[in-house]
Amino acid sequence: MSGCDQCALAGVLPPAPTADPGRPRLIAIVGPPNSGKSTLFNRLTGLRQKVANYPGVTVEKRLGRARLEDGHEVALVDLPGIYSLSPRSEDEQVAHDVLAGTMPDFPRPDAVLLILDSTNLGRHLMLAAPILALGLPTMIVLNMADDLRKRGGEVDAESLTKQLGAPVVLASAAQDQGLEPVWRFLTECGAAPSPVDLPALQDVPRCHAWAARLGRHAAYQPPAPPIWTRRLDSILLHALWGPVIFCLVVVVVFQSIFSWARPLMNGVQWLIAWSGAWVGSLVPNTWARSLLVDGVWTGVGSVLVFLPQILLLFLFIGILEDSGYLARAALIADRTMARVGLQGKSFIPLLSAYACAVPAVLATRTIENQRDRIATILVAPFMTCAARLPVYTLIIAAFLPERPVLGPLLGTRAAAMLGLYALGFLAAFATARVLKSSILKSERTPFVLEMPPYRRPTLASLGLRLLDRAKIFLRRAGTVILAMAVVLWIVAHLPLSAGKVPPIERSLAGTLGRTVEPVIRPLGFNWKIGVGLITSLAAREVIVGTLGTIYGMEPDAKSRGLQAALRSDLTPGGAVALLVFFAFAMQCMSTIAVVRRETGSWKWPLVQFSYMTTLAWCGAFLANRIVTALA
C-alpha cells in the first residue's frame, strides 16, 4: 500500500518497554475531543491523578495511576483531545511529542489506549491510522457502545481487530461496561499492531476513504440521529427561546457566584477568623504570633475566602460543559464576541471574571484556539471582580453623597458603581479588539465548534473536576500567596525601632510608599495610598486593611472613621483617580500566578501587568486632571 513506508518505519522505532525496570509501565490515552477519553481516564485512575502543565505550553498534563488486580500499578497519561497527529496546534504537538518519545523529561509511553466514539466511527476511525503507524502496542476502545446500541447502530469489533491487527473492544466508560479487556491490556499490553494496510497519513481524503472501508468491512451501522439532542436543540437554539434561555443561564451563574456563594464565603471567613484566634492563643504574644495571625492567617485567609465562589462557579461550568450546553452557549454568544475579535467560547470565562479572574483564566481551557485563549486571559482581569468591591465601596462612600439619580431606583453611589463596571468592561473589549487586530491576530484556523450530543453529567466527573480545581487553588494559596503574605508582613513590621515594631510610616512599607510617591503624586495620591498600592499587589481588597492600619482606624469598608480620614487626606480628584486606578490595574498576585501557570511562561503575565499598570496610571492621571479642573 501507498503508506507501507510508514509501517516499515514504525517497526524500526524503539519499543520503549522494560527499558527501565524500576519505572511502572506508562500507557497513553489518546482520542479525539468528545470521545469520552477523560471519562475513561477517570474510570481507570479514580482519585490517583495529578494535573500539571507540559513545560512552556498551555497544555495540561494529566497523569494518573491505575491499580491492577495483581497489586501492581501502571502510570496513565491522558493526552489532549486531537483529530490527527500532524502537529499543527499546541495540543497536537504535545500528543505527537509524547507519543514519539521526543517530549523533554517525559518517557515514551509503552502502549497506547486509543479511545474513539463508536457513535461517530466514520470520522473517528481516521485517527487510528497515525496511531497504529507509531508501532506501539495499541488497544482501540470504541466508547459509548451503550449509546450506539440504544440508537440501533452496530459494529463488528472482531472484524476491526483483524483488519487493524490490534485489539478492538466495544465499551462504555461512563457506564463502566466492557472495560475488562482494557484492564487486561493494562496488565499485559501485548504486541505491536500489525494492520492489514495503512493509508498515506498526509492524505486526509485517503485516510477518510480508508476509515470508511474499514467500517464497511466491519458492517458498521451508524446509529440513528440522537432524537433527544435534536429535540432539545430545537428549543435551546430556537431563534427566540434560545437567547432567552441563554440569558437565564447567565443570570443563574451570575446570581450563584454573587449571592448564593455569600453565606459559604461568610462561613469560610468566620472559620479563618476563629481558627486564627485559636492558633494565636497557642503561641506566646510575640512577633511570632503577629506573623502567624496578622501575616499568614489573614493574608492566606483573604484569598481562601474565594474558594466557595470558585468551586460553585466550576460546578456550573462543569454541568454546562458535560451536558453539552456549553457548545450551544458558545454558538449563541459567538456573533457578539466576534465583534471584538474574540469568539463564543470566550464568553463564559469572561463572565466568570466578574467573580474572580483566577477561575476565569482556568476556564479558558475550553478555548482550543491558542491565540483566542491568550487574548481572553489577557482581558479577563479587567472585568470587575469581587475583590474590587470593598475598595470601590469605601472610596465611593467616603466621597460621594447618596442622592437619587433616577428616582428611588438608582442613587449616585449605585450609579458610580455601575460606571466602574462599565469602565472595566470597555477596557476589556477595547483591549481585546486591539490585541486581536495586532499581536494576537488569529492564525488561519477557522472557528470550528463541534456540537456534541446532550448527555447527563455524572456526579463522579463533576466531583473530580471540583477536586482538581480546589487542589490547584489551595496549592497556590499554600505557596505563592503564603510567601507574599509573609513578605508583606515583614515590610510592614521592620526595621525594629528600639526593639519595637515601628509605626507604619517608618517601616519598610512606609519607606517604599515614600519612594513611589513621586511617581503617584501626579495621580493625586500621597505616600499612604502608595503603601496601600504596594500591599494591594497581594490582593486588591488588602488596601482597605492597610489604609485602616495607616490611619489607625477600624479597617472596615463601612467604617465612618476611615471614610472621614480619607476625605480629609485625599482630594476628590485623587479619589476618582484611585477608583480608576483600581478599575484598570492588575493588583492581584493570584491572577499573575495563574496566568503564569496557564500560559507556561512569564512573558504573558509580565506583558499583562505592565500594560494594565500603564493603563491604570494614565487613566488615573487623566481622571485626576479632569476632576480637579472641574472642581
Binding site: Y83, L237, D334, R444
Partner: protein, 91 residues
C-alpha cells in the same frame, strides 16, 4: 422543466444551503492547513452535508456531516463549495 425555472439558483456553497437542505461538498476553497483541519472533521470532498440550526441571526451555523454536527462561521461556510445541482442529484 417548469419547476427548474421557478427554482432558485442551485446553492454554490454551504452558506447558501437552506435549513434542512443537503449538498455534496465539492472542494474547500481554503489554505491547505485549514482545509486539512476541516477534512479531519469530516468535510471531505464528495461528502453530503446538511445545513441545520444556527445561532440567532443565522451565524454561525451548524452543519451535519459524517455523523456529527459542526458549527462554522459564515466566512468559512462560503469557502466550502458544493457540486453543481445536476451532479449532486445524480449522486
Amino acid at each position: 422543466m417548469q419547476a427548474n425555472v421557478i427554482r432558485r439558483r442551485a446553492p454554490a456553497s454551504l452558506a447558501e444551503l437552506r435549513k434542512g437542505e443537503q449538498g455534496i461538498l465539492d472542494r474547500l476553497d481554503l489554505p491547505e492547513d485549514v482545509s486539512r483541519r476541516l477534512m479531519e472533521l469530516g468535510f471531505v470532498p464528495g461528502s453530503p452535508v446538511v445545513a441545520a440550526l444556527s445561532a440567532p441571526g443565522g451565524d454561525p451555523r451548524v452543519f451535519r456531516v459524517d455523523g456529527s454536527e459542526i458549527a462554522l462561521r459564515h466566512d468559512t461556510a462560503v469557502r466550502l463549495k458544493l457540486r453543481p445541482a445536476a451532479s449532486a442529484a445524480a449522486n
